[in-house]
C-alpha cells in the first residue's frame, strides 16, 4: 500500500470520529431503553394495584349481593307480618 503518512493520519482521524459517534449513539439508545423500562415497570405496577382493588371490590359486591339474595329468598318464603311460612 502506498499511503502517505498524511493519508494514514486522516484515516485514523476519521475512524476516531466514527468511533465517537457510534459510542454516543449507543449511550443514547441505552438511556432511552432504561427510561422505557422504568416506564414499563411503573405502568405494570399501577395495573397490578388497580387489579387488586378491582378484585377486592368484586368480592365486596358479591358478598353484598349474597346477603340481599338471602333476604329476598326469606321474604318470598315467609309472610312479612306474621313471620309464618307462606
Amino acid at each position: 500500500m502506498d499511503e502517505t503518512e498524511n493519508d494514514l493520519e486522516k484515516r485514523v482521524a476519521r475512524l476516531e470520529r466514527r468511533a465517537i459517534r457510534e459510542k454516543r449513539a449507543r449511550l443514547e439508545a441505552e438511556s432511552l431503553l432504561e427510561a422505557k423500562s422504568r416506564e414499563l415497570f411503573e405502568v405494570n405496577r399501577n395495573l397490578s394495584r388497580l387489579n387488586e382493588t378491582l378484585e377486592e371490590r368484586i368480592r365486596d359486591r358479591t358478598e353484598a349481593l349474597e346477603v340481599e339474595r338471602r333476604k329476598a329468598l326469606h321474604l318470598a318464603e315467609n309472610d312479612y307480618l306474621t313471620g309464618l311460612p307462606n
Binding site: 470520529r17 459517534r21 454516543r24 449513539a25 449507543r26 443514547e28 439508545a29 432511552l32 431503553l33
Partner: protein, 181 residues
C-alpha cells in the same frame, strides 16, 4: 424526526458516496447531534436538511434525486426490519393502502410523537393508484422512492409520477403509481 431515518441515511450515503466522504461531510456540517444517530432516538429535522443540502453540494446530485435514491434504499431497509408488514399484503396496491391505515397506526403505538405524513390512497384501479401525500415536510420524493422499493418487492414494474397541487387544507402531492403489465 425519528433516528431511524437519519441512521439509514448515513448508511445509504456512505455506501453510495464513500465512507470517508460521508465522515468528512458529517464533520463539516457541525451538527448539534454530532451525527450520532440511534434508530430509536429523535432528532431535529433541520439536521436532515443540512446533511442533504451539503451532500448535494458535494456530489452534484440534486436534492430531489438524493432523496428519491434514499427512499429506494430506505424501503429495502424497512423490508428487512419490518418484513411482516409486507408479508401481510397480497399485492403492491394492498400494501400501499396499508401504509396509512395499518403501518402508520402501528408506528404511533410505539412512538406517539412520530410525525408521519398522511399518505391516503385516493383512487385505485387495476393498474393505477393514486396516493395523496400531505406533510409539513416536503419529502414527496422520499415517498416516491419508498413506493419504487415496494414495487420491487412485489415484482411490479411501475411508473411513478408526481403532481403538486393545493386545496383548502393546504398543499399536497398526488403520487400516481402506474403498473406496467
Amino acid at each position: 424526526m425519528k433516528g431511524i431515518v437519519f441512521a439509514e441515511f448515513i448508511e445509504h450515503a456512505s455506501s453510495a458516496f464513500g465512507e470517508d466522504e460521508i465522515e468528512d461531510l458529517i464533520d463539516e456540517c457541525d451538527l448539534p447531534s454530532g451525527g450520532a444517530y440511534t434508530a430509536v432516538g429523535t432528532y431535529d429535522f433541520q439536521e436532515m436538511v443540512t446533511l442533504v443540502t451539503a451532500l448535494s453540494k458535494q456530489t452534484g446530485v440534486s436534492v430531489d434525486d438524493l432523496i428519491h435514491g434514499f427512499g429506494v434504499y430506505l424501503g429495502g431497509s424497512f423490508r428487512d426490519r419490518f418484513r411482516d408488514f409486507f408479508d401481510q399484503q397480497a399485492s403492491l396496491f394492498d400494501f400501499l393502502d396499508s401504509v396509512e391505515n395499518h403501518i402508520h397506526v402501528e408506528v404511533r403505538k410505539l412512538y406517539a410523537d412520530a410525525e408521519l405524513p398522511s399518505l391516503k390512497m385516493v383512487s385505485r384501479g387495476e393498474n393505477e393508484a393514486v396516493l395523496r401525500y400531505r406533510s409539513k415536510r416536503c419529502l414527496a420524493q422520499l415517498a416516491s422512492g419508498l413506493i419504487q422499493s415496494a414495487a420491487n418487492h412485489f415484482d411490479d414494474q411501475v411508473e411513478v409520477v408526481m403532481d403538486h397541487a393545493k386545496d383548502e387544507c393546504g398543499t399536497f402531492t398526488d403520487i400516481k403509481v402506474r403498473r406496467q403489465t
